[in-house]
């Protein structure tokens, strides 16, 4: 394996042999399992907490909104809170992605693709863990259509991966200005109440409605609500705004995954 490192890149010259590719696959599995080990830590319930989190939050908000006598649909709240929870964890994970560029293997430099594969896999598994129990509740307790429940799980997986990719674009900036992480956390809290999380977009009016048309989260939550047969603003969407918002967010997500190697290399010399 001939490796050359200069200011611009750390690259392997020539073809990577089959043995190295097998090793990389094994390393990806090692990193993925380590991620779950870190999440589980010393908790008795381990990664079950990932499953419980959206359920607990949904029940809390259901309780609060019932006390407030709000016009609510439990299905809509379950969908909104689960999807927004996935968005939040994916974004926070994305902006922190460069924090550990060794993948837990501190003696040998591993290729960035070895880090990206478990990152994407972990995000997908995390999304499945969060959305599947909610989908089961929607299906068996709340009588939602099976196709809608499957769409909800698929939608949460796409949302998770695209949000992580989107957030990777900011990882370098956040490494330079760590305060931005706190700003993003506040912004996400603001977005929780302004995005169609606790309510379908059809309940919003005026500028609130129109501003949310440029919020990619709207399209994930509203399309899921629509497929589940719940109240949604899906039919009010304009195709141009939809294409523009989702197109930009997907391009940024792809850019994030594409740029992580150069960010990782550039930030390696930051003290």
């Amino acid at each position: 394996m001939h490796r050359r490192m200069d200011k611009h890149r750390c690259e392997i010259i020539g073809k990577v042999d089959a043995e190295s590719l097998r090793l990389e696959k094994r390393r990806s599995q090692f990193i993925l399992r380590n991620k779950f080990r870190n999440i589980a830590g010393n908790n008795r319930l381990g990664i079950l907490w990932i499953v419980l989190e959206p359920l607990v939050f949904s029940l809390v908000y259901l309780f609060v909104l019932t006390v407030l006598r709000a016009r609510l649909s439990p299905e809509s709240i379950f969908v909104g809170i689960t999807l927004f929870g996935i968005l939040t964890t994916s974004i926070m994970s994305g902006i922190d992605a460069i924090g550990d560029y060794t993948g837990g293997l501190r003696c040998e430099r591993i290729r960035t693709r070895v880090l990206i594969i478990p990152m994407v896999k972990y995000r997908i598994i995390d999304a499945i863990c969060r959305s599947s129990p909610v989908a089961i509740i929607l299906l068996f307790l709340l009588g939602s259509p099976p196709a809608g429940c499957i769409f909800f799980v698929l939608c949460s997986m796409v949302l998770a991966v695209s949000c992580e990719g989107f957030a990777l674009n900011f990882s370098r900036m956040i490494h330079h200005i760590p305060d931005l992480k706190i700003v993003i956390r506040y912004f996400l809290r603001f977005m929780f109440f302004t995005s169609p999380v606790l309510f379908p977009l059809s309940m919003a009016q005026g500028i609130h409605f129109h501003a949310n048309l440029f919020n990619p989260f709207t399209y994930y939550s509203e399309s899921t609500r629509f497929v589940l047969g719940l109240e949604s603003a899906y039919t009010d969407f304009e195709s141009l705004t939809f294409s523009l918002t989702m197109g930009v967010s997907l391009i940024l997500a792809i850019r994030g995954f594409y740029k992580i190697d150069s960010f990782r290399w550039e930030l390696s010399s930051w003290s």
Binding site: M5, K7, F30, C107, E108, I177, S269, W270, S271
Partner: protein, 243 residues
């Protein structure tokens, strides 16, 4: 016109015009978002290490020894120039090759052995060999989180040196553990050297450097002050430190 690459032999290292800067964000009242402040840790290094050569990197604290090893390993980005290596490069710095605290020494040896490239078929003999080398006895089956620093060092060193890198970079690691372990560690290193592996050792132990190395590179303020036989390099280093 593309860059032309000369094919290196396995275990060879080529360093050309290498400069490494550490970047830091300096915040002032006038610039709350900060400006990038660079510190040059390595300055215009040029050298080649042939396969099987054992080189001692010698210098005072802050002279750039660790930075050089990290740059060769690919953990740090060069600011100018380039580094080329051929073969698998391992850096043994500190005492932790990536130990997972929640798992036992045995499980760590197994998982890290596989992750660092040992075959599935050879993993059991790998674990047994690490166990024998570390001599942690029943502690080998206890969680690493409860180990002392010395015990972790033994385990980490045992795992990494049981692997077979083409280039081994050692950064002040041979001082871990008790006297018996240090002797075993040096023995294992000699075995590795005997197998014609390329080794770069950064150390303050001049006796060890003299014993193991054939060549020395003296670093001073990030520059190569001297590159030659280990005896002469040590002599120059002693001259510098004596003022």
């Amino acid at each position: 016109m593309g860059v032309e690459f000369v094919v290196l032999k396995v275990g060879e290292i080529k360093v050309s015009g290498l400069c490494t800067d550490y970047d830091d964000l300096l915040r002032t009242k006038l610039r709350p978002f900060g400006k990038i402040d660079s510190f040059r840790a390595l300055d215009s290094l040029d050298f080649t290490v042939s396969p099987g050569e054992v080189v001692g990197i010698i210098g005072r604290n802050g002279s750039g020894k660790s930075t050089l090893l990290k740059t060769i390993n690919g953990f740090l980005r060069p600011s100018e120039g380039y580094v080329e290596t051929s073969g698998r490069v391992f850096l043994l710095a500190g005492v932790d090759p990536g130990l997972i605290l929640g798992l036992s020494g045995r499980e760590n040896a197994r998982l890290l052995g596989l992750a660092y490239g040992t075959n599935q078929k050879a993993i059991e003999s790998f674990v047994n060999s690490v166990e024998e080398f570390c001599n942690l006895k029943e502690a080998f089956d206890r969680k690493v989180g409860g180990y002392s620093t010395g015990m972790r060092g033994k385990l980490g060193f045992g795992i990494i040196t049981e692997l077979e890198p083409d280039i081994l970079l050692i950064d002040e690691t041979l001082g871990v553990g008790d006297r018996e372990f240090r002797a075993k560690a040096q023995m294992r290193l000699r075995n590795f050297i005997g197998q014609s592996g390329t080794v770069l050792i950064s150390t303050h132990s001049l006796g060890l450097a003299k014993e193991l190395c054939t060549r020395g590179i003296l670093l001073e303020n990030g520059r190569i002050e001297y590159d030659g036989s280990i005896e002469d390099t040590i002599g120059k280093y002693v001259d510098i430190t004596n003022g």
